[in-house]
Amino acid sequence: MSDDWPLFEVFIRARSGLEHKHVGSLHAADARMAIEHARDVYTRRQEGVSIWVVRSSEIAASDPEEADALFEPARDKVYRHPTFYAIPDEVKNL
């Protein structure tokens, strides 16, 4: 296998109704080959019903160094969760 082949990220839909999930990556000359390889590499045991591939270089990712700044502010917003609200036990279906 040539290192010149670009890297593709592979997403598999496990079964009807579910979203595609990232499962890994592989090298291929083009998208068609990437799908064929993904089928062989990632779905040998019926792991999927649909494959997406995307050039890894096309993916923009958040900076791990900035994780705190990005995600920490959600931590004290407990009121976004239903359990934050005290509803008397007698009240049903809420």
């Binding site: 839909r13 109704g17 979203e19 009121y79 239903p82 934050f84 009240v91 049903k92 809420l94």
Partner: protein, 328 residues
């Protein structure tokens, strides 16, 4: 998360051009087996159009729905209530975004959907054309309007179109705090001073019937129900969902010690349901046709936001063109 306009490595022949009856039959069989239809699957044009209409109306409702509640952010009675209300309105915006994305998987552009909303062609839930006159309205909206929305949305989590169903799962999960915060507000008012109780009662009186009407026209006069149920976009009829809502909400109102503004409302022992008096559909139609108390105001607010945000969109595009190397 949905990807629009997926590229196939080798473009397939547009399926509409050949083998239509066979494709139609296969589609029906898949629906019958409760399989999900996905963006790249063949689907009848009417199914596609029905979904575009329904999902985009749903998205518009979320976005327009930010306005009546947003009205009270600056006047929330405490910092806690304010933080909660901001979080809720923010969620509604997010829900609109999930839904626009789901609609876009059907081959319509976001810009086109927004244009339909802003020029008045698109509809959105009639409930958001009513004003929020007091703080109690924020409670009543959470309790009743979000309660009705949840009742409507939970079955859509099982709808036949994959992207819509998945968006709904996410929305329903996030929605669960909305109703509880609303009920909490109502409870605080109901247990408060006589003036606060009166405020809660007044809000219930104004929001009850519009909430009941949120489920749409009665089954007898609903244009779309039968086909949507065959396609498993809808799982229950408008009247079935409305009845469920009434059944769970009446005891909640009793707990609050508030009176539902319907003298005919009663428990029917034989039916095992609370039965309501007749619904004034002329009001529903009038509001839907643009003659509600706030139709004009809502669309004006959306247009204003769109216009005033233009320079931001232009600046972002200019910046991306100058510096952005999106592609390697």
């Amino acid at each position: 998360m949905y990807t629009q306009a997926l590229d196939s490595p080798t473009p397939a022949v547009r399926p509409e051009s050949a083998g239509q009856p066979a494709l139609e039959r296969r589609f029906e069989e898949r629906i019958e087996r409760d399989e999900k239809i996905e963006p790249k699957d063949w689907m009848p044009e009417a199914y596609r159009q029905t979904l575009i209409r329904q999902i985009s109306q749903h998205a518009h409702s979320e976005i327009v729905g930010m306005l009546p509640e947003g009205n009270w952010i600056t006047r929330a009675p405490s910092l806690r209530r304010k933080a909660v209300l901001i979080a809720k309105v923010q969620d509604e915006g997010g829900h609109g975004m999930y839904l626009y994305s789901a609609a876009e998987t059907l081959g319509i552009a976001r810009a086109e959907l927004l244009e339909q909303l802003l020029d008045g062609r698109a509809k959105y839930s009639s409930i958001f054309n009513y004003p929020t006159l007091t703080w109690a309205d924020v409670g009543a909206i959470g309790w009743l309007v979000d309660g009705a929305a949840i009742m409507n949305q939970i079955p859509i989590c099982r709808c036949s179109y994959g992207p819509y169903a998945r968006a709904m799962v996410r929305i329903c999960k996030e929605e669960s705090f909305h109703q509880r915060q609303g009920f909490e507000i109502m409870l605080a008012l109901a247990r408060g001073t006589p003036q606060q109780r009166a405020m809660a009662q007044d809000a219930l009186e104004r929001w009850w019937w519009p909430s009941i009407m949120m489920f749409g026209p009665s089954d007898a006069s609903s244009k779309h129900t039968a086909q949507s149920m065959r396609w498993r976009i809808k799982r229950f009829t408008n009247d079935e969902l409305r009845q469920r809502f009434v059944d769970v909400t009446v005891p909640q109102a009793e707990f609050l010690g508030l009176t539902i503004p319907d003298p005919a409302l009663h428990w029917d022992e034989a039916a095992q349901h609370y039965l309501t008096g007749p619904i004034d559909w002329s009001e529903f139609k009038a509001v839907l046709q643009g003659n509600g108390p706030c139709n004009e105001e809502r669309i004006q607010a959306r247009r204003k936001a769109h216009e005033e945000g233009r320079w931001v969109r232009d600046a972002a595009a200019a910046h991306a063109a100058k510096h952005g190397r999106v592609r390697a």
